[in-house]
């Protein structure tokens, strides 16, 4: 089911876009570790080319009718024929543009943010690795290939979260992220292997066609869909594997912006959209996805209500926004999910990068502390942040508004109103927590120390370098703000672009009534207002309504005890339970029995040695006796 014949230009662009970052990764690791500037140049150069290539590809193929596939067979082992190559369709054209744009911006931003770090080269190497893996992931033609890069993306996430490896919490968070996503990936792995065993082909185009799955029983289809969804749960930090993402904020902020909000975690959602026709063939699985999306969205929103850490607030909001996307996709709103993915990548990266500016300057993550130190005086980041938060809350005319509208629209066509209600609650909570943060930052509370000390002590001294850094860091903010503002208006062309491929497969987008839009907007405004009342207005105590209910507060700040549960699982069940049991079994039972046998042999030898004093004559006597007895025996 290969679409149009491949074009040489496309292929060249694809290869350039994917392989150059990999080349720069290797080059940095092998050759230029000692030269940070050169490393950064290599990395940014390669990502720039990737960006240009992807935009060119998008432009060239904007009128794409059927997906294009370039593939070769990587391993041609018997019983294992897996195509390896590129697939080009609207979804991944959009995705590579998003990925390369954010990668480019973040890498530029990092020039300022990471300046002077001893691991500067390493940072750019890992960034290139990530770019390569993420681009290739988006362009994968088969599930196996996708899994391949899926894991590599996880690896770069691990390496980047634990980038400051001397910090215990960072390495811990990296490990946690890797292991938790791994747990999901294992499900994914089993899922696609099962699928492979039953269909004999892992090509995405093939899986998405109805004909390929005709011979498979629905229950099996549901099973494999659920298993593959396990990978999505892990990667996109959905319930129940959601706790790694907030911890992943231990990494450098640009990393959080790139991997843990805009692109990598969105890979899960991307996979969902990628296999959307496949998933939608199993209604049971779809409703499970919808439920999981909803649960994660609500849980994460509540966690965001009480966090004091600026990055964690955004991390929770990332989870909840990803939940939104999965809800939308689960509800059948393909365009809504993908569009929200796109807009979210823009504004969430923006929010993180703004926070990064604050953190870089004031070296704290605590929002109250930032506010006290005078974060609001930094104009560009602050304005961008407000824009981003507004987009996040779904206020018009920013991009988030349009995508949220679309999501509400797709939720509203569901027969059961529960999902829509949950979505609306989510909208309200989102608006509330984002503006809670904004208002706290804008208005230092009266209880806080006087804001008269706009101290940024560490960086005031060397002005020129500082200026450069500031500019380099401000540029992406401005670009992203612009994107946030205007992206919403591209909803219709994008819908056509994406819808073209979907209608081609007979899955029409759904149209919705208009009242949910109104309700969502109203609730968003309500959320902002509540935040204003509690935090923004003059004389506000800056105490949220959740803070007043201690048990709820504790529940939320303990992340619904999910982390405790995993901690318990790992410490008690795995470490002190199974592991210790196995270890003791190894030492005591297996080794013990072997040593016992050995010692028994030695001991019995000793006993026998005691019987015969080692005197040669006794042995001779024994020999003789035996001979005689043998003679007797043979004689009779």
């Amino acid at each position: 089911m290969v679409g149009s014949p491949p074009h040489a230009v496309d292929l060249a662009a694809l290869i350039a876009a994917t392989m150059l970052p990999f080349a720069s990764f290797l080059a940095i690791l092998v050759a230029t570790r000692g030269r940070p500037r050169l490393s950064a140049g290599l990395s940014i150069g390669s990502v720039t080319i990737a960006l240009v290539c992807s935009i060119a590809l998008l432009a060239l193929n904007f009128q794409l009718a059927a997906p294009i596939q370039f593939s070769t067979r990587l391993i041609a082992s018997s019983g294992l024929n897996i195509p390896f190559g590129f697939l080009l369709d609207p979804l991944n054209l959009l995705m590579i543009v998003v990925v390369s744009t954010i990668c480019f911006l973040v890498q530029v931003y990092s020039l300022g943010y990471m300046a002077g770090d001893p691991g500067f080269s390493r940072y750019y190497a890992f960034m290139s690795l990530f770019t390569w893996a993420m681009m290739s992931l988006s362009l994968s033609a088969s599930l196996l290939q996708l899994y391949f890069f899926w894991e590599l993306v996880g690896l770069s996430s691990y390496l980047l979260i634990g980038f400051w490896y001397e910090k215990f919490s960072a390495t811990q968070a990296g490990k946690k992220a890797f292991v938790m996503t791994r747990a999901g990936d294992v499900a994914f792995f089993i899922g696609f292997l099962l699928l492979f065993i039953h269909t004999g082909d892992l090509s995405i185009v093939h899986l998405n066609s109805r004909a390929a799955l005709a011979g498979i029983s629905p229950s099996f289809l549901t099973l494999s869909a659920l298993l593959i969804f396990g990978g999505i749960v892990g990667k996109s930090a959905q319930f129940p594997l959601l706790t790694w993402l907030p911890d992943a904020m231990e990494g450098p902020t640009p990393v959080s912006a790139l991997l843990h909000s805009a692109t990598m975690v969105a890979a899960g959602v991307y996979l969902f959209a990628r296999l959307f026709p496949f998933f939608s063939m199993s209604p049971v699985a779809m409703s499970v996805f919808l439920a999981i999306g909803t649960i994660s969205m609500l849980l994460a929103s509540t966690m965001a209500l009480v966090s004091r850490d600026i990055k964690r607030v955004w991390a929770y909001s990332t989870i909840s926004q990803l939940g939104f996307m999965i809800m939308a996709l689960g509800a059948g709103g393909y365009f809504a999910g993908v569009f929200h993915l796109t807009t979210h990548a823009g504004f969430k990266a923006l929010l993180f990068l703004c926070s990064g500016v604050f953190i870089h300057r004031y070296e704290t993550n605590d929002i109250y502390e930032l506010s006290r130190l005078g974060a609001r005086r930094m104009l560009v980041p602050m304005v961008s942040m407000v824009l981003g938060a507004a987009a996040l809350s779904g206020l018009p005319p920013l991009s988030g508004y349009f995508s949220k509208e679309a999501i509400m629209g797709s939720l509203s066509v569901l027969p059961d109103p529960v999902w829509l209600a949950a979505g609306l609650v989510g909208v309200f909570l989102t608006a509330y927590y984002s503006f809670r943060l904004i208002f706290i930052l804008l208005l230092p509370g009266e209880s806080e120390a006087p804001a008269g000390a706009p101290a940024a002590p560490a960086h005031e001294s060397d002005e020129s370098g500082h200026k450069f850094q500031d500019r380099v860091m401000a540029l992406p903010l401005i670009i992203l703000s612009a994107v946030t503002v205007i992206l919403g208006f591209f909803a219709t062309p994008l819908k056509h672009f994406l819808g073209a491929s979907l209608t081609a497969r007979g899955l029409a987008g759904t149209e919705a009534s208009s009242w949910p839009h109104m309700a969502a907007l109203a609730l968003a405004v309500a959320g902002v207002s509540l935040a204003w009342i509690e935090f923004g207005r003059k004389g506000a105590k800056q105490v949220g309504f959740v803070d007043r209910i201690p048990s709820l507060y504790r529940l939320f700040s303990e992340r619904w005890y999910i982390d405790r549960f995993y901690g318990l699982l790992v410490n008690v069940v795995v470490d002190r339970g199974i592991s210790r049991l196995c270890y003791q079994n190894d030492k005591k039972v297996i080794d013990g029995s072997i040593d016992g046998i050995c010692e028994g042999t030695v001991e019995s030898g000793r006993v026998v040695a005691f019987l015969q004093t080692g005197m040669v004559q006794y042995r001779l006597l024994a020999m003789f006796a035996v001979l005689v007895l043998l003679a007797l025996y043979f004689y009779y």
Partner: protein
């Protein structure tokens, strides 16, 4: 019963008696001397059985060389009468018991096996016949045996030289015997072996 038969029984009785005396002597020199008598008797048996060459060799090597070697060692080490309890009951009682059974079984077996009671013929293998036979059919074994003897020579030399080598290698941990002994010990081994070797080679 022929004269030869009577001779056989007489000689056998003498051999057994001498051996019995030999193994019960406390004084080792006596034991060795009794054994020499026993070997002389054996040589006569050989002659009786038509093996004159072997009889001669028996006298030369066994009674001559080997027993003299024993005597050398016994005398050199002044071990004529050791302090041993000659027959500790824990050893000799079972030994005697089993020996008795053995002899009984052996007797019963050899008497009752058919074809064993035919009197032996009188035949003699002259040394020439014997030598021709040996070197025609068993020349390789002779070579092997000569290598064995050579190895024994080397081994005994090495063991005998142990004390001289001890001064450079391991510390002298054994007792302070007179220094004159080791060469004597080495010397005691050599002539015996040499004569053995010569004894064999002479026959060629």
């Amino acid at each position: 019963m022929t004269l030869y038969g009577i001779l056989f029984y007489l000689i056998s009785a003498a051999v057994i008696a001498a051996t019995a005396m030999a193994i019960t002597r406390k004084n080792l020199v006596h034991a060795v001397v009794y054994l020499i008598i026993s070997f002389f008797g054996t040589a006569m048996l050989f002659y009786l059985f038509g093996a004159p060459l072997l009889a001669a060799l028996e006298v030369i090597i066994y009674a001559g060389a080997i027993m003299v070697l024993f005597l050398f060692v016994v005398m050199m080490l002044r071990a004529e009468s050791s302090h041993e309890s000659v027959f500790p009951p824990i050893q000799w009682l079972p030994a005697a018991f089993f020996c008795l059974i053995y002899v009984l079984v052996a007797t019963a077996m050899s008497v009752r096996t058919p074809g064993m009671n035919v009197p032996l013929k009188m035949l003699t293998a002259s040394p020439r016949q014997f030598a021709v036979y040996v070197f025609e059919y068993h020349w390789f074994s002779i070579e092997v045996v000569s290598i064995l003897l050579l190895l024994a020579l080397i081994g005994a030399l090495n063991l005998g030289a142990g004390k001289d080598a001890g001064s450079d290698g391991e510390p002298t941990d054994y007792n302070t015997d007179p220094a004159g002994e080791p060469p004597a010990a080495a010397g005691s081994g050599q002539p015996g072996r040499r004569s053995n070797r010569h004894g064999v080679e002479d026959e060629k």
